[in-house]
């Protein structure tokens, strides 16, 4: 019986053998963008012919630049105007290993939280540390705690915020909802049904909605006061067993739920706090193509549909998801996939691709503009990997970037870019990473 079972497993291999990877040139370009110490096929010859004569001058400039950075750090201000990416200097002594941003919260008064995982060393057995970095003054100074991770926090007002996360091992089970009532300075585990993992939250106005899952038991839709400390199941559940379902709140009593049933994603909505649920028509014509849902009012929502080939399909509904107007949205950059889509009004939304391109969508989806193209454009804002996009309103946007180590440096750095004018100018905040991590 065992051998037969394994034979059936072998026959059901979804990707048998090997497949054709991207060209090695793509890989080299990608590595070129991520870490300057990787192979530089074309630059190497130039170095010998053009850079050597200016080496002494460059060295002197580098020393001066380091001195400026050191002095600015001693003054307690790590902020650098982002007049251009080439002007940004990060400490040469960064955090070793691979850094990954788990979640960020940016509260407009200047209370910022970044949850960070450090994988070090990554190439041997899994060894990871989790850090929570908090600033109460808009990124000028930071405190650090080695702790579990928080994921994608959302604020109801300047005090009350919610996030998901887990303490302990990254990727471990038993995710909780976390709540803060002091604008993100401290977080505590919120009360929720025992044995259920809270995997997603959505805060809108005075209420917070959440999805909880338990293997074999399906999902629960939870709801609570954003000013409180507890989440409880709504009286009527939409009847989904998809443990990866998502919820998007739109006001105190309205929430949209997307859940997989069979091969299709089903859409549900309640407008009375979970007393009744309606099933909505599908927007995305592609199986498995439903990506993101964001809402900006109880009846105004945006859907993203993407099947792996650009451009993506953006759907805009003004009648609570009954009908949509469709737009094609570009996904610039080599093989960039649209993700981290966030609407801020009925007219304006922001999108970041998985390669870090940042796009501002206006006129309800009819037009879009690349405000931050990671590579291949003068708009390139930073040498690094954008990890998180946080849209507070139409003008105030944060992009959190991991900057891989430059040649001769010992580790990566973390930079928060903020714009308060819809992406025309960016302010850079170099996040000082904990010394004990070196």
């Amino acid at each position: 019986m065992i051998d037969e079972a394994l034979e059936r497993l072998r026959d059901s291999n979804p990707v048998p053998g090997e497949v054709t990877p991207a060209s090695v040139d793509y890989l080299l370009a990608r590595i070129e963008a991520d870490a300057p110490e990787r192979p530089r096929r074309r630059l190497r010859a130039r170095v010998a012919t053009t850079l050597v004569p200016t080496l002494a001058v460059a060295t002197a400039l580098a020393v001066a630049a380091v001195a400026i950075v050191v002095l600015s750090h001693r003054r307690g201000g790590a902020n650098t105007p982002a007049s251009g990416p080439s002007t940004l200097r990060v400490p040469s002594r960064g955090m070793p290993g691979v850094l990954m941003v788990d979640g960020v919260t940016f509260e407009p008064r200047g209370l910022w939280t970044i949850s960070l995982t450090q994988c070090f060393p990554c190439a041997t057995n899994q060894r990871m540390r989790n850090w929570t970095l908090t600033s109460t003054d808009g990124g000028d100074s930071w405190s650090t705690e080695q702790a579990g991770w928080l994921n994608s926090g959302q604020f109801s007002n300047t005090r009350d915020g919610w996030a998901t996360g887990a303490t302990g091992v990254p990727g471990g089970r038993g995710e909780h909802a976390y709540v803060t009532h002091d604008g993100g300075r401290t977080w505590a585990v919120a009360s929720a049904p025992a044995g259920w993992s809270v995997g997603g939250i959505s805060v809108s106005g005075p209420m917070v909605w959440a999805i909880a899952a338990r293997p074999g038991s399906g999902t629960l839709i939870l709801r609570g006061s954003a000013a409180g400390d507890a989440l409880s199941p709504v009286r009527v559940q939409p009847g989904t067993n998809d443990e990866a379902a998502t919820v998007a709140a739109a006001g105190a009593d309205t929430a949209y739920v997307d859940a997989l049933r069979g091969h299709h994603v089903e859409h549900f909505v309640t407008h009375d706090g979970g007393e009744r649920w309606q099933t909505l028509p599908r927007f995305c014509p592609i199986e498995g193509g439903d990506r993101t849902l964001t809402v900006d009012s109880p009846t105004s929502l945006w859907r993203f549909c993407w099947d792996g080939s650009a451009p993506a399909l953006l759907g805009r509904s003004l009648d609570g998801g009954r009908t949509y107007r469709s737009y094609h949205v570009p996904a610039p950059g080599p093989q960039g996939a649209p993700e981290r889509f966030q609407a801020v009004s009925g007219q304006i939304a922001w999108e970041m691709t998985d390669h870090g391109d940042v796009i501002r969508i206006i006129e309800g989806g009819a037009r879009s503009k690349v405000v931050w193209w990671r590579k291949g454009s003068q708009r390139t804002a930073v040498h690094g990997v954008p990890e998180a996009l946080t849209v507070v309103d139409a003008q105030l946007v944060y992009v959190t970037v991991v900057v891989p180590p430059a040649k001769g440096a010992t580790g990566s750095n973390l930079v928060v870019y903020a714009t308060n004018d819809g992406g025309r100018t960016w302010q850079a905040h170099v996040v000082p990473l904990p010394a004990e991590a070196h």
């Binding site: 497993l9 072998r10 990877p21 890989l27 990608r30 990727g171 193509g289």
Partner: protein
């Protein structure tokens, strides 16, 4: 130049296997990025790389995926992807038996990864041990248990699935 040539050769030799590994576990939309991340680590750690690099590369890929997937339901995603037809790329895949996938999803993470490395990625037990960062004896013990668990889970799935009956004309 020598290091770069060796690196390119490493990618040509193993890039397809690493990509296939990733595609079995993640969305095609992130696969190229994950592979690039794996080889970025490989470039940085090239002096630590063993002669048989594939298990080492798959071990790195496993960690990169683990970090990208934090909080996600891995097998749910896999099942979703298979069900939506995105599991196949540019190869001719066999017909996926959904009962097999469901049985696989019933296993614990360690059992499932062990079987997938052994059966789908076609690693030897020694290579699986290297990819997982455990001793070979540990793999042998876990494998015995995982095979039994999988056979039981598959039998349960078979029992729960109505049999198709051909209607005589």
């Amino acid at each position: 130049v020598g290091a770069q040539a060796e690196f390119e050769e490493l990618y040509r030799r193993h890039g397809g296997r690493v990509l296939a590994y990733v595609l079995r576990r993640a969305s095609p939309s992130v696969a190229d990025d994950v592979v690039a991340d794996v080889f970025l680590v490989a470039w940085r750690r090239r002096e630590d790389m063993p002669a048989n690099a594939l298990p080492w590369l798959l071990g790195v890929a496993r960690k990169v995926l683990a970090n990208r997937r934090r909080g996600e339901q891995r097998v749910v995603a896999l099942t979703h992807r298979l069900a939506s037809g995105h599991g196949n790329t540019d190869t001719t895949a066999g017909e996926v038996d959904e009962r097999v996938i469901r049985a696989l999803s019933r296993l614990g993470d360690s059992d499932r990864e062990l079987l997938m490395l052994l059966v789908w990625d076609e690693l030897s037990q020694a290579e699986v041990a290297e990819a997982l960062g455990v001793r070979k004896n540990t793999v042998a013990v876990r494998l015995h248990r995982a095979r039994r668990h999988f056979a039981e889970a598959l039998a349960a799935e078979d029992a729960n699935t109505p049999q198709m009956t051909e209607v005589p004309r």
